[in-house]
Each structure stands twice: as C-alpha cells, then as structure tokens.
Amino acid sequence: MIEIRNAKKSFGKNEILHDVSIQVNKGDVIVILGPSGSGKTTLLRCINFLEKADAGTLTIGEQTVDLKKASSKEILEIRRKTAFVFQNYSLFHNKTALENVMEGLITARNVPYEEARKKAEDTLAWVGLLAKKDAYPSQLSGGQQQRVGIARAVVLDPEVILFDEPTSALDPELVGETLAVIKSVAERGITMIVVTHEMSFAQDVASKVVFMDGGFIVEAGTPAEIFRHPKEERTKQFLARIISAENMYYI
C-alpha cells in the first residue's frame, strides 16, 4: 500500500502542489490527468525524490518517510522500492540496452552478474527487444528506447512503477506499441502510477483516475465515473477540451 499525505511543493513563488493526498493499493493502476502546470509530474517526481517536497509524508509498505526531511539513507531505500519511466526515456547513453536493464540490479541491489543478466534478458524478451540487447540507445528508435526504459523499471520488481508521460515524446505511430507494453505491465499486476494524456489508455487500463488542476486533486474515481459522470465543473471542462481534440484527430 502506498500513500502520500499532504504533499506541498513550491518553486520559488509558485505553489505547484497545494496539499495533495493520494492512496494507492497493491495492483492499482492510477492514471493522473490534468492540464500542464497542474502539478502531476511534480507529484510523481516527489515520490522518488527527484524533487524534494516542502512538506508531506510518503508511506510505501511498512516504511513512512517525511518528504522534506528524509535522510539520504531513507531516500535510497525508497528509490530501491520504486522505479521510474521517463518522458525522454533517459536510457544510459554509455550502456547497451541489456546493460541499461541490468544496471539497477548489479549496482544498486548487488545481484550477481549472471543472475542479473538472465533476468534482464527475460525482461527484454518480454518487451520484444531481445534482438537489440547489444544495441546502444543512439541506435534505437524512440519507441524501442522507451520499451527498454520500461524493461529497466520492470526488472527491478518494485513496489510501484512511476510513468511520467511515457508516450509524449514519441512519434504517433510508435505510441500504440508502447501503450501496449504498458498495458501488459498492468496486466502483470504491478502497481502503477501513470501521468499521461492518452485518454483511451486511461479508460482502458486504469483502475482509478485522478484529475489534478492547479496543484489540487479536483476529483478521483473509476474511469467510468470520471469519464462518463464527472462531478466537478473543472473536470468537465478539461474532458470536453481533450475529448473533442481527440475526436478531431480521428477525422
């Protein structure tokens, strides 16, 4: 069980997170929607301490840490229970696909080399890229890089995987195959928090949808509740804009 309580974060004078609380159960797939600047990416990055929040607590499993005052040791422990998939893939440029997937295992978790290699190869095969295991990121397409990034996160067997707009930097033709892989991650029962603009994905895969705006959680519920019966005015406005845009795209 993962819980964030009362997270606050400001950048200079801008308060990006106003007092956000969220609860995630094991196996949940939470999709966070919202306009840009709503704080959804910041919230995600606060969870694995890529940003340091100004206040709030984080509970993962048995461990609770203060989001602001966590010690380096605690941060490291949290990072070893979570995994992150970046919008720009951020694969290690100086390592092959296989080495990228192995890195967290051998260096951060002291898994023996052979065991790590086997696990990494299995995971790469699972995302369909075993043939490219010795390729460097510069030799892979965007979609392939992101799938390696997903493999890198999955192989760590974390308590939760955080996805930061995983398909936003991809060419449209590649978005589909990447979303398919993310869906199969969900089908494996892994707990996920996904920030995305892909509405059909949210409807299809999410167990809970959270709408954020201006640093607050405006509304949360099942996909059916949020998409078909939104209660808040802001939610309705946001959905109206996004869904009509999507419809236009399909024309």
Binding site: F84, N94, E103, T107, Y136, R152
Partner: protein, 228 residues
C-alpha cells in the same frame, strides 16, 4: 648560408638530443598523472560549490590560466625555497631542479584540466543522473558508472589539445636550468658554437610528436563513440 647550417652537425646532434627525450617524457607523464587527479578534485569542488574551497579553487584556476607558463616556472623556482624555509624550515638547495618543473607543470595542468573536466561533466544531460537515481544508484555510483564515462567522451578532444600544449610547454623548462632536449641543445650550442641545427631538429621532433599525439587522440575519439 655557409657554416650556418651543416647537415653533418645536424645528424651528429640527433642521438645526443634524443638521449634527453626521456626527461621531457617524464615531465609530461608526471604532469598528466598528478594533474588529472588534482583536476578531478578541483572540478568536483567547483561543481558542488563546496564553500571556501570553491572560491579558493576559483582563484587557483584563474591564476594558472591567466599567467604565462614561464612566469609560473620562475615563481615556483624562486618561491618554493622561500615557502619551505619559512613554513617547514626545510632547506631545498639539494633538490634537483626538475622537482620545481614537476610541481609547476602539475599545478598548471591541474587548473587547465579542471576546466575541461568541469565543462564535460556539466555537459552530460541531467536526465542521465535522474535515471541513475531512479534505479537506486547512490551519488557516487551514478557518478562513477554513468556520468564519468560520458563526460570522458566529451572531454577527449579538449584533453587532446591540452596534452599537445603540455608537450610544447615543456620546451620552457630549460630556462630554469633543467637539461631536457632544449637544455641539451643549449649545451651543444655553448660547446660547439653552432646551435641552429639542434633547434631545427627539436622543431622537427616536436612536429612529429604533435602529429603522433593528434593521431592517437583521433583514434581514441572514434573508439569512444558508443555506437554512433
């Protein structure tokens, strides 16, 4: 051009001069070895902006990069004895002159290389560091396994230029009395009253060295391309 340049003298000089090439190579070796270590330290201090050390490092780098090499040699040559006497009461009259040369070149390289290293480390995208943290690496692990290898790649061309510059700078050491290839040329000149052949040979020698080093770094650069 009679008696100014004599081929016979040119060729007799060659073995005599080349015999002192190891002295030049030793200067380059020690300057690079300790210079790199010093430079890494200074670069990290400046990137992490450690208080007090950061400012001191800034002054050190500015001084070494803003003053001529020759002046630095002379300052070290005259200054270290005074420093040693005043602070530690050690008499350095027995020291071989080459020690002062080593100290100067190490300090000099430390400053120039620290700038190169600092820029290369900062050139690695922050996303790489974040990705490293996200899979659970510590700061040290992330630096050693992800940032440093990529920074090295960026640094290679500048390091190569600096390395050639170091070789060329060694040509000044003889001015404080060290006998390297230049020093040998000078002694040949005093002994035989003919020194042009010696300097011409040294010029050719330096050209060959610079071409070899350029070639080596070109190959190194290609090897580090990581699949590009």
């Amino acid at each position: 051009m009679v008696d100014l340049f004599d081929w016979k003298r040119f060729f007799t000089n060659i073995p005599q001069i080349v015999a002192y090439l190891p002295v030049t190579l030793k200067i380059v070796f020690y300057a690079t070895l300790f210079g790199v270590i010093l430079a890494l330290l200074v670069a990290v201090i400046r990137i992490k902006k450690i208080p007090i050390l950061h400012q001191a490092a800034g002054i050190y780098v500015s001084f070494m990069r803003g003053t001529p090499m020759l002046v630095q040699l002379l300052v070290v040559f005259y200054g270290i004895p005074i420093l040693m006497q005043q602070l530690f009461n050690i008499n350095v009259n027995r020291w071989d002159k080459i020690i002062f040369v080593y100290i100067t070149y190490i300090l000099n390289q430390g400053a120039f290389l620290s700038e190169i290293f600092r820029c290369s480390i900062l050139a690695v995208p922050t996303g790489q560091l974040e990705a490293a943290y996200s899979v659970g690496l510590t700061q040290f692990q992330a630096f050693r396994r992800i940032i440093l290898p990529q920074a090295v790649r960026v640094a290679v061309p500048s390091f190569g230029s600096d390395f050639i510059g170091l070789f060329q700078n060694t040509s000044l050491a003889f001015l404080i009395g060290v006998v390297d290839i230049m020093g040998r040329a000078k002694t040949i000149g005093t002994a035989t009253k003919h020194v042009l052949e010696a300097y011409v040979f040294i010029a050719i020698l330096f050209i060959i060295i610079s071409l070899l080093v350029k070639g080596a770094f070109y190959l190194l650069d290609k090897k580090l391309a990581y699949g590009r």
